[in-house]
């Protein structure tokens, strides 16, 4: 099934090889050994020319981002204005950092920042390790089984947080939740899950893993699928064990992917998962000390005020911090191994 698609490519390159190229060979790597053209502009034009085919391939994407992402970014100024509908984006009054004030006036700022970062770190670490483990283990099984297991693991991805909130409530509610009923039948005391904030970090991480692990496992599994069989073949000939192959081949070759996934998570370190933290704890005020994050706090604060500028300010703040964190993370990666850095 795989081969038919391979053959054309194979034939293509073969036939190209038979008819020696008409165009002269061009060096593609960055540093140019050729004599330098005079001006900066001239040099750049030269570069453009050598890279033009790849550039052309990226044009649709770049153009799309320009129109659908960069043009609307003029909207970022809303965060610094008192946005009035009749005055519009450009006519509204500048108010400096006023819209950011509400996030920082109370000492809740510390609580929500801490919670947001710690949870996201926890989610990142546990999801990465868990998904890698599952992907490696799945790789040991036959395709028809992996398909079944993967589908099962992926199912929770389709449930909205609102719905998961209802399911969680069926498990956790005090009087007739499944868990408390089980505890009682075992002769143990029921727990007021929605009043006791202590177990919530575990509950939230568990629910997050339940919902997200299938997704991440899928990505890592596909990454493993993309590793050339040659490596494993060679290792097998050398008499490597499965574990050795996982540690010496799979994980190292997945490193670029792991780094990319991690940097992507770091970029949203300051953006909490609103649905998870709002619906699963049932928005119970008793749990805020361990469940409240920036996004739930902002929702609570702005729900009745409905202020476009203030929500824009929050988004901007989260973006800036995420941006700084990504620059840091990417810088560190580049120090260690420039090949793996994002840019």
């Amino acid at each position: 099934m795989t081969n038919p698609s391979a053959h054309p490519a194979h034939n293509e390159s073969a036939s190209a090889a038979q008819a020696p190229s008409r165009t002269p060979l061009k060096p593609v790597a960055g540093p140019e050994p050729k004599p330098k053209p005079k001006s900066f502009l001239g040099r750049e034009l030269k570069h453009l020319k050598t890279n033009r085919e790849l550039l052309l391939l990226s044009v649709p994407g770049i153009l799309y981002k320009l129109i659908f992402a960069y043009f609307p970014m003029v909207g970022l100024i809303i965060a610094f204005k008192n946005y009035r509908y009749d005055l519009g984006m450009f006519g509204s009054k500048w108010v400096g950092l006023d819209n950011f004030r509400f996030l920082f006036t109370t000492d809740t700022a510390w609580r929500i920042t801490r919670n947001t970062v710690l949870y996201n770190l926890g989610y990142m670490v546990f999801t990465t390790i868990g998904a890698l483990l599952l992907a490696v283990l799945l790789n040991e099984l036959k395709a028809r089984y992996t398909r079944f297991y993967q589908t099962a693991l992926f199912l929770p991805h389709f449930l909205s947080w609102v719905l998961v909130g209802y399911i969680a409530y069926a498990f956790l509610n005090h009087s007739d939740g499944f868990i408390n009923r089980t505890l009682e039948s075992l002769g143990m005391n029921p727990i007021s899950w929605y009043r006791d904030s202590a177990p919530w970090p575990f509950i939230l991480i568990l629910v997050h893993l339940w919902k997200a692990i299938g997704f991440t496992t899928l990505i890592y599994f596909a990454g493993i699928m993309g590793i050339s069989g040659d490596y494993y073949e060679a290792a097998r000939i050398d008499g490597a064990t499965k574990r050795q192959m996982a540690l010496k081949i799979t994980v190292p070759l997945l490193t670029p992917l792991i780094i990319i996934m991690s940097i992507l998570s770091i970029g949203s370190m300051f953006r909490g998962d609103f649905g998870l933290h709002y619906f699963i704890p049932n928005n119970s005020g008793f749990l805020y000390s361990s469940t409240d994050i920036i996004d739930t706090y902002v929702y609570r604060a702005l729900r009745e005020v409905g202020n476009v500028s203030m929500s824009a300010a929050v988004g901007f703040y989260q973006s800036v911090v995420g941006f700084i964190l990504v620059l840091l993370a990417n810088g560190i990666v580049r120090k260690i191994n420039p090949e793996h850095s994002m840019w």
């Binding site: 994407g61 992402a69 609307p72 970014m73 909207g75 970022l76 297991y149 389709f158 609102v162 699928m225």
Partner: protein
């Protein structure tokens, strides 16, 4: 070669079977509740085995089948068209930035990644779509806004950067042009990656309702998710604002509650069980470099 049924393999299977059961358990609850009589749910709460079996929730949702079928049609069209275009551009962009020898690779990566962190927000996008592109009530308004996700591009880049540069270089020595290398060599090599990304993109299109809520007023162009989410949101709104609904004379008894909520989830997610295996057919070991070199 090792034995067909080793202990390790058995353990592995046991582990995944238990894990799958645990993960699927809440999903079974969803299905069970969707098949339970609403009265029974009020009295006895959620049960894994329906006490009083009832198809009322589905009957309620299938009240106007023509609307539902049309919505399925819109969703299927948007999902297929969107996924094809999106996958192509995602792969093109990701391929270019995955080439370490491309002079603007880093700049382009940054350019793309930046849009994941910063966004102008809802209002400017709305103005763009409605007042400049005039896409209100157009299916393009469902396809374009989520066409190119930086996340997907980055993940794709992660997949593609594993392809050894020698493959590309040898093709170049053979005189192949970049676009030909991309379509004839890179894409076949990246089948599992394309399948994964295709799946993620298809899910995104399938689940998309927010843009439809903003941009689609024409009842004939409403996608499935919007139809379902709208009902869900209304149920949610009215049950959580009971003081208002009473004050303003909304009849709560008219609203399906728990069972319909769950039936909505089944109707929305169910077809995914067909789409998923379709893509999984392509989760096969990537072609070896050797086979290309011939």
């Amino acid at each position: 070669m090792e034995a067909k049924y080793s202990v390790a393999k058995l353990l592995n299977h046991t582990f995944f079977t238990i894990l799958s059961i645990l993960v699927v358990l809440p999903f079974l609850l969803v299905i069970a509740v969707s098949l339970t009589d609403e009265q029974s749910l009020t009295q006895h709460g959620y049960q894994f085995i329906p006490r009083d079996f009832s198809l009322n929730a589905y009957r309620y949702m299938l009240d106007s089948p023509d609307i539902l079928f049309r919505a399925y049609g819109v969703t299927i069209f948007v999902t297929i068209a969107g996924t094809l275009v999106s996958l192509l551009i995602t792969a093109m962009t990701a391929y270019v930035i995955s080439r370490p020898d491309y002079r603007y690779s880093r700049a382009t990566t940054f350019y793309v990644f930046f849009t994941m962190l910063f966004s102008g927000g809802l209002v400017p996008s709305y103005i763009l779509i409605t007042q400049y592109l005039h896409l209100k009530d157009s299916l393009l308004a469902l396809i374009l806004p989520i066409l190119l996700s930086p996340f997907n591009i980055m993940v794709m880049k992660g997949f593609l950067s594993k392809i050894p540069l020698e493959v590309i270089e040898s093709a170049k020595i053979d005189g192949a042009k970049e676009y030909r290398i991309f379509f004839r060599i890179i894409l076949p090599l990246a089948t599992p990656a394309l399948a994964t990304l295709g799946l993620l993109i298809a899910f995104a299109y399938w689940n998309e309702w927010f843009n439809a809520m903003l941009y689609i007023d024409d009842p004939n162009k409403v996608p499935l998710q919007l139809l379902l989410v709208r009902t869900l949101n209304s149920i949610e709104f009215i049950t959580t604002n009971s003081e208002f609904s009473q004050q303003l004379g909304i009849d709560l008894a008219d609203f399906p509650n728990n069972s319909a909520r769950m039936a909505i989830a089944v109707l929305a997610g169910g077809p995914m069980l067909v789409i998923f295996p379709f893509f999984q057919r392509f989760f096969i070991r990537g072609l070896t470099v050797g086979s290309l070199k011939g």
